[in-house]
Symmetry: C2
Subunit: 354 residues, 2 copies
């Protein structure tokens, strides 16, 4: 059995793709549409053959393979895909199916949304991160130099299918990366969920846990679709995390989840500096993050660079740096303007232990 996320704008079905609406949708609404299947090098090998053989109507799909990884999430790749669309004669009524991680669903959604001002698309995320994060909210886009998702638009897929079967194809580190967003959802919404997650064996993530995590995000996004307020809580960990990720982008040394997890920890320490959170809560956050995520190393002489990257973050309305900060596990406040000295202190506490 599958379950639909309760959301006004996001149509997400969680559970086995084989018993989902996927096949009937292809057979009905998209019967006469050309299909374009966008994959990356990983999902081309590990997921596309299953999709094409297990479902009818995809035999003739044009398959477009994006180069794998965040450094390839750039406009130049989109341009090449649009040129391929033109070559294939793709028209407004045709369908794009994005099969892959966040790079594929973010960039594939962007490609679909802009081609002829909007093709319809279906997302089938194959990584934990893409299932719990990118499946809700309609954010699509590409990077601009070191700045993540600097160019983008809001565009909603017809529907997103989250099937845990694809998680079996993930390397361990990718699976762990996705946990960062699940812990983030727990940190924003409830201590109980946090506790449940710390007890879970992440090699056996089931549909129920997926469902709960996605539902937390969907509820927040529904209540603030244009990110005027509440939705900013979802930026927890990302002000610092995106800066670290941007800094290391060329080396591709750390996963998104690792950057966000350590970003959450830095932000918890900032909250502690500002006396917004108890030390015991920060200790629990630190315990879990240190246990689950590979340690990130940052040398003190790059702290200023990291801070300057934060300043260019999309979330800022002025030159001040805007944070969402935890007040306990299960509660976050947004629109917190923080002086650089507190950020520097927190970075020193965590990364400059020598």
């Amino acid at each position: 059995m599958t379950k639909f996320i309760n959301s006004t704008k996001n149509r997400v079905e969680v559970g086995s793709l084989e018993v989902s609406k996927f096949q009937s949708l292809i057979n009905s609404q998209f019967k006469d549409a050309k299909k374009v299947l966008i994959v990356d090098e990983n999902t081309q090998e590990n997921c596309a053959p299953y999709l094409i053989t297990a479902f009818e109507g995809l035999e003739e799909a044009e398959v477009i393979v994006l180069p794998t990884g965040e450094p390839n999430k750039v406009m130049e790749v989109c341009q090449q895909v649009w040129e391929a669309f033109t070559k294939y004669g793709i028209q407004r009524g045709d369908l794009v199916i994005n099969l892959g991680g966040g790079v594929v669903t973010d960039m594939g959604g962007f490609i679909a949304a802009l081609y002829k001002r909007g093709l319809r698309f279906i997302n089938i995320p194959t990584t934990l991160l893409a299932m719990v994060d990118a499946s809700v909210g309609g954010k699509t886009g590409v990077n601009l130099g070191p700045y993540k998702n600097q160019i983008g638009s809001f565009a909603f897929p017809e529907i997103t299918f989250c099937d845990p079967i694809f998680l079996k194809t993930l390397p361990e580190r990718e699976l762990i990366s996705g946990q960062a967003e699940m812990f983030k959802h727990a940190m924003i919404s409830s201590k109980e969920h946090w506790t449940e997650l710390t007890k879970t064996d992440f090699y056996n993530i089931n549909s129920d846990l997926l469902y709960d995590s996605i539902q937390i995000k969907a509820t927040i996004v529904d209540n603030d679709p244009t990110e005027k307020g509440l939705r900013k809580t979802l930026n927890l960990g990302h002000t610092v995390g995106h800066a670290i990720e941007g800094f290391y982008m060329d080396e591709h040394q750390y996963t998104h989840g690792e950057c966000i997890a350590w970003g959450m920890l830095v932000e918890a320490y900032i909250a502690l500096e500002l006396e917004m959170i108890e030390k015991s809560e920060v200790n629990e956050i630190e315990r879990v993050i240190c246990k689950m995520f590979d340690e990130i190393s940052l040398s003190p002489d790059v702290f200023e660079t990291i801070i300057s990257l934060m300043k260019n973050d999309k979330k800022n309305n002025s030159s001040k740096i805007n944070f969402s900060l935890p007040t306990k596990i299960g509660a976050v406040v947004f629109d917190q303007q923080v002086e650089e000295e507190y950020i520097l202190k927190a970075l020193n506490t965590i990364f400059n232990k020598a």
Copy 2:
């Protein structure tokens, strides 16, 4: 005195910019915002100095100069502008002002709409074409090779100001180009408006005539914002016209208005072939178009290329070519699928008179 277009989604003010809401908007809503003024080489010289000196609060604006002309309406130029935005530290709350013709408002709107998933922007069209056409409907975008506006999104400016003062800066041919869309609006909506236009001295276009033309488009777009039906009538002349324009893009030999005017004439002849329109109506259309617009030359050996360019038009849902066709001056039907032989006949009638 200025007048506001009556529209649910498009905020357009027609008349003198100096007595419009422009200054008060800058002083209030965008008081603390950084301003970016996007111009092209022409408006940098002829319009920007007036704007910057006549209005307060624009002295510090960053000025970005786009290379002039349709062949530069491409993603590579957008990328350069986004990189400049990043350098200038432009943030979500900042303001883009697009001052120029359709290339500037289409591409400037696109640039604003995608940067950090959406900056607010104000359009000040300076050509007749941009005032009567691009000012309504929220279409933004860039070209992909020979395919016009193939990549784009729907994004509405905060407000568009149409001030006929800028028309004084236009070369004659540009001014005449804009008339094509005005005649198109008349052909779609009313014979009376058509007659009025044929009597007008186009070197003295006034706010009232501008207003009426824009209002026709706004009413159509409001009634069908997503182009499911009625709005397709606005594609009159464009199925053929865009193909001609795409074909000649590198040479930049004909204006958009010339291509659309001759496109309307070809489409009138297609309607005649299909016995949808009286010969006397086609004669009147031909009389006006031949009188007002420079003749386009197309050799019979490129007709097949022109038809293949039509097939890739955004307006097609399948491989068939979809037209909006006139049934008389003042009435148009949409979703007309036409066989290639009739298109070929009409092209021969008009361009192969030897």
